[in-house]
């Protein structure tokens, strides 16, 4: 597969989107959303920003399947680490010894 050259115009648009995302997350932090929504809003913006960096600045959108597989495996193992550890802490108080 030959190399895809990302045009500066695309980089500029991603850059502006990232700056807008940063502004948005700061503004959102000063609002009080109900319950855990503050965390959800902040993390959603962070995930979108990170995805833009990975897809365009790091050229993954134009990379082969092998690169996608490597990144997918990282996310998969990260999810295992979080899910198993948090499920342990989450359930520790469920059964209190008599």
């Amino acid at each position: 597969m030959s190399e895809h050259i990302v045009q500066p115009r695309v980089y500029l648009m991603i850059f502006l989107a990232l700056m807008a995302g940063t502004g948005l997350t700061v503004v959102a932090a000063f609002y009080d959303f109900p319950g855990p929504l503050n965390a959800v809003v902040a993390l959603t913006i962070a995930v979108i920003k990170a995805t833009l960096v990975v897809l365009y600045f790091m050229h993954v959108r134009y990379s082969g399947r092998l690169i996608w597989l490597v990144i997918g495996s990282a996310i998969f193992w990260l999810a295992i680490m979080f899910a198993l550890t948090i499920s342990d802490y989450w359930t520790r108080t469920w059964f209190v010894p008599m």
Binding site: M1, S2, E3, I5, V6, Q7, P8, Y11, L12, I14, F15, L18, M19, T22, T25, V26, A29, F30, D32, F33, G35, P36, N38, A39, A42, L43, I45, A46, K49, A50, V53, V54, Y56, F57, M58, H59, S63, G64, L66, I67, V70, I71, S73, A74, W77, L78, M81, F82, T85, I86, Y89
Partner: protein
């Protein structure tokens, strides 16, 4: 005849082509794959710290809010912007090597390094503020143990620690352990990144790169962007999320 073999016969081999690769494209793709595998180990490494943050945040929400409120949102936001601009200049450096504009590459690399150094400078100011307020955890600095002054109700002195209900100084210290571990490891990665950029800059200066051979710029760029991504998560988690106390915990 295999495709790779044909390619070596059609073109005279590039001086940067290593003997164990068929052609420049295969060499470049192998390098990119190797860098991504390394970045996976980095994701898992930082992932462990993000997991520790998550667990203790659920365990001590009030202390995390109190501690997070002591951080400077303005400096954190400026640093986020600085890193995003540096990622943009890095991406532009990669583009200009791909199209063979050596001068632009050098300028972009220098800009990237200046922005990286700016980030570290602002981080240094923040660390110094924490030093002044006795917030360096444990005995990391033996002559300056963790001993913040706790504000009494009504006292608005920003240098004192303002504890909300349910927060203890001990658990605030836990937040600062996590804060210094995560931002410290991130800063170390920035310093290493500056070292890598110095090497790439010298190579660019000597005219080593061309549209056919620019893998080192590309791969260093991947590392630089990765360090930017870590900060994209650190900024809201450390500086912003602590502004709100959620119902759980």
């Amino acid at each position: 005849m295999p495709e790779g073999l044909a390619a070596t016969h059609d073109h005279p081999s590039h001086p940067a082509l290593q003997h164990h690769f068929e052609n420049m494209e295969q060499q470049r793709e192998a390098g990119t794959l190797g860098m991504w595998v390394f970045l996976v180990t980095e994701i898992m490494f930082f992932g462990g710290m993000f997991l520790a943050y998550t667990l203790y945040r659920f365990e001590y929400p009030a202390a995390f809010v109190s501690a997070s409120n002591h951080l400077d949102i303005k400096l954190g936001a400026i640093n986020t912007a600085v890193l995003i601009v540096s990622s943009f200049t890095m991406a532009t450096a990669v583009y200009s090597t791909q199209v063979g504009r050596q001068r632009t590459t050098i300028i972009c690399l220098i800009l990237t390094m200046i922005l990286g150094a700016t980030f570290l400078g602002i981080k240094g100011i923040e660390y110094h503020d924490k030093y002044n307020d006795h917030l360096i955890p444990g005995q990391l600095i033996p002559s300056r143990p963790f001993a913040p002054e706790v504000a009494k109700p009504g006292d608005t002195d920003p240098h004192k620690l303002h504890l909300i209900e349910g927060a203890t100084v001990q658990n605030v210290q836990l937040f600062y352990w996590i804060y210094f571990a995560m931002t410290g490891m991130h800063a170390l990665h920035m310093i290493i990144g500056l070292g890598i950029m110095t090497v790439i800059l010298i190579m660019a200066w000597r005219g080593k790169f061309s549209p056919e051979y620019h893998a080192p710029v590309e791969i260093s760029g991947l590392y630089w962007h990765f360090v930017d991504i870590i900060w994209i998560f650190l900024f809201p988690l450390l500086y912003l999320l602590g502004r709100h106390l959620e119902g759980h915990g």
